[in-house]
Amino acid sequence: MATTVDENSINELKDGEPIIRFEHVQQSFNDNVVIPDLNLTINAGELFVLVGTSGSGKTTTLKMVNQLQPQSGGKIFIKDENITDIGLQELRWNIGYVLQQIALFPTMTVAQNIAVIPEMKGVKREEIDATINRLLNQVGLDPKKYRDRMPSELSGGEQQRIGICRAIASEPPVVLMDEPFSALDPISRTQLQDLVLDLHAKRHDTIIFVTHDMDEALKLGDRIAVMSEGKILQVDTPTNIAQHPANQFVEAFFSQSVAHNVYDVYVGKMVMMGFSVATLPDGHTAPIDISSDKTLGEAFDDLAHCEYLRVVDGDRQLGFINAQNIVNYLSQRKRDEDENN
């Protein structure tokens, strides 16, 4: 079957150009309006996170992109083409999908699961085989060991790695992820978040990622949209959302969503919220670097040895933190909690 979609033109988009556009989109189920009027633009190459409580409409928004839930009103554009003008199959073959329930096909092996979309597209057998091996290697699973296993023989984390391989096997320009890690244990979740960041950096694809976990949103998102009751309250970079919440809801959501255990709060998040200094005061040094996705618990260990830590995201320097910053952050958090109770 020939793929006549402007898959190519989507791929040709430069990072930052609009790829998906919601214009006055409305969604209702049986007279129950879930989304009254949604306007949103997602740019090519960004990892866009939709965050909100359950019932906020974030998953519904996601499922309109691949038309699992066609909108009841308004228009959605993929690049400049109205979504209703694109054939359903063509649309979906070019949009990867990762589910919260993982939903690997239980009667197929790992390799067969990954091959599902390329097979439908008529890709040659040898090519598919090569893709399967390459993808398994990329997600850290030995192809020899895993290719012929059945999904039921894998752990949850391994299953979702296969889920991701299956979604990106045919190199779709857009990937939708619907709370993909919420059912996983904390260790697997962290590993898979890192994997998504890693794959995104390599592939430069557009990812729309739905989560109810603000920490996950802050860690992953290039931009974050905070949703509540079918409306978008704020769309911005993690730092801006942390430092300049658009309203009280965003602020409350942000502070409530912090890790229950203070030791699990990300260092990067403290920096975003402003509990840091941009430059070192004279006469002080910061001999130890700490990555922004390390937790406060780990920072305590390092601060036992020196006064300041340099917070980095890869090569980029985000700022410096000392014990005083942490205490300030904790007291702010205490105040928020008291207010909310």
Binding site: L68, Q89, L91, Q100, A103, F105, T107, M120
Partner: protein, 510 residues
């Protein structure tokens, strides 16, 4: 146990035929049921309201007793394999439909969503995702259906479709436990083996599975076509009721017809069923000839224009023949000598000692009599009460099971029994029947019954069959029944031996 194995060895070729018929009926029914139920269930998964409705209907159909269902089908499609297959298909629908529906409907919705989100079409989703996931549940439904079909198919024998039920019915009819056991055990084994095979199929690759099914279908279809082609134009089908006697008679018919009419081929359907089935089959051209008794014709088949009380054997036959011709356009050919009717029997030594040869003679020894009779005979007005009245006797009989009363008289616990005049036990236990000198019992003479149109088309066949007229005495029939029932000779051998010995058939008795 010895009797069981002896019967098994004696009847192995009949068992193989029955087994093949059973497998054929069962598998054809199963495949038809699958072909209906599985696509319907798949369609129903997209039409929930229809599914609920279908489940109701299939459930109701399943509650109809199988005998009643067969009975209801006879006026519509007649007898034989067709109604049997229809009934079995109806029973098999529910488990297959239900399991296919549940198997697909129970699939995790997130898996359905994944398939949709990857842009799978309906057909691809069905074959790649839904059916493989639902397969174990569907196959278990097919197994349930198969086990039920194989069990219920034993009833097919009742309507002349053959199969292992023939053994069971014959066993019940002849009070031969070994036969019933062979039928029941074979059917149970067949169910277990086929069920196991289906279970194995589950682990086969789909392409081999479909290939296997095609081979199976072609095989069954091929045998069916081959059978149909092999039958020459001048084929005459002769059927017989349950039991050794009709089986012997129809074998004689076949030998006689084929000896004289070289172009005619005779197919036998022994143990075809009870009277009404055979009579219906004859009227619907599903069989061409079967031996019937004059008394039975007057009692149950024709509308009686006049009383048949006190008729002689010849008068009974004449009346039966006249009415068959008038009411059904059936020709009732000339009767044989023997009269297979109710009789009273005593031991040969008693007959000599008491000098008793007729029922009237019993009066002279009434105080010595210890009668033991079947409940039915004691109860019916044309049984013991009628005998007492007609012959001025006052016999009071102990009621006994049919088989037991022969053993009881053999052991001397009783000394008068009721009997059918050709029962092999009369010969076996050296009993003698008493002459019904006042013609109280209706006469039951045997003769071939066939369509008059067929009789006109094949005068040669009629001529051959009439050669038996006036032959075969009650003693002869007892002897032949004894040889088949007790000595386990085949009906074919016994029939041929009689014909050769009486110079009705050329050749030797072997």
């Amino acid at each position: 146990m010895d009797a069981f194995f002896q019967t098994l060895v004696d009847r192995r070729s009949a068992l193989l035929t029955a087994l093949w018929q059973h497998i054929e009926i069962s598998l054809v029914s199963l495949l038809i049921a699958m072909a209906i139920a599985i696509p319907l269930a798949i369609w129903a998964t997209h039409h929930k309201r229809f599914a609920a409705f279908m489940l109701q209907i299939a459930g109701v159909l399943q509650t109809i007793p199988s005998l009643a269902l067969l009975g209801l089908l006879i006026p519509i499609v007649g007898i034989g394999t067709v109604p049997a297959v229809i009934a079995l298909v109806i029973y098999a629908l529910l488990p297959i439909f239900q399991n296919t529906y549940i198997g697909i409907d129970d699939i995790d919705p997130s898996i359905e969503e994944a398939a949709d989100a990857f842009g799978m079409g309906q057909t691809r989703k069905l074959f790649k995702v839904e059916l493989p996931i639902a397969a174990p549940v569907i196959i278990s439904g097919v197994r349930q259906a198969l086990v039920m079909i194989i069990g219920t198919a034993t009833l097919a024998a009742l309507i002349g479709a053959g199969g292992l039920g023939t053994f069971i019915l014959l066993g019940i009819d002849r009070n031969d436990t070994a036969l019933t056991l062979i039928g029941a055990i074979s059917s149970a084994l067949l169910a277990i083996i086929l069920s196991w095979l289906i279970n194995r199929l589950q682990h086969m690759r789909p392409r081999y599975l479909i290939g296997g099914l095609v081979v199976l279908l072609l095989g069954i279809g091929g045998v069916g076509v081959a059978n149909a082609v092999r039958q020459p134009a001048d084929n005459i089908t002769i059927a017989g009721k349950l039991g050794s006697e009709p089986d012997i008679l129809i074998n004689m018919y076949k030998d006689l017809i084929e000896q004289d009419n070289k172009h005619v081929h005779v197919t036998l359907k022994p143990n075809f069923g009870k009277t009404s089935f055979l009579f219906n089959a004859l009227n619907h051209n599903q069989i061409d000839i079967y031996p019937e008794f004059s008394g039975t014709i007057l009692e149950s088949l024709v509308k009686k224009p006049q009383s048949d009380k006190g008729l002689t054997a010849n008068q009974t036959y004449q009346l039966a023949q006249k009415n068959m011709q008038q009411q059904f356009k059936l020709s009732y050919l000339k009767p044989m000598a023997y009269n297979n009717t109710f009789a009273l029997a005593i031991r040969e030594q008693d007959a000599k000692a008491w000098n008793v040869h007729t029922i009237s003679d019993l009066q002279t020894v009434e105080n010595k009599l210890k009668p033991g009779m079947t409940l039915e005979f004691i109860d019916r007005p044309d049984g013991l009460p009628g005998v007492n009245k007609t012959y001025g006797l006052n016999l009071k009989a102990q009621s006994m099971e049919p088989k037991l009363r022969y053993e009881a008289i053999h052991n001397g616990n009783i000394n008068v029994v009721d009997a059918y005049s050709t029962d092999s036990e009369l010969r076996q236990y050296h009993l003698t029947t008493l002459k019904d000198n006042k013609h109280f019992f209706p006469s039951y003479q045997g003769a071939p019954l066939m369509k008059t149109s067929l009789a006109k088309k094949y005068p040669g066949v009629v001529k051959s069959l009439n050669k038996l007229a006036g032959h075969i005495s009650e003693k002869d029939m007892q002897e032949m029944n004894y040889e088949v029932n007790v000595e386990k000779k085949s009906a074919k051998t016994v029939a041929r031996q009689y014909l050769v010995n009486h110079h009705l058939l050329k050749g030797d008795a072997k």
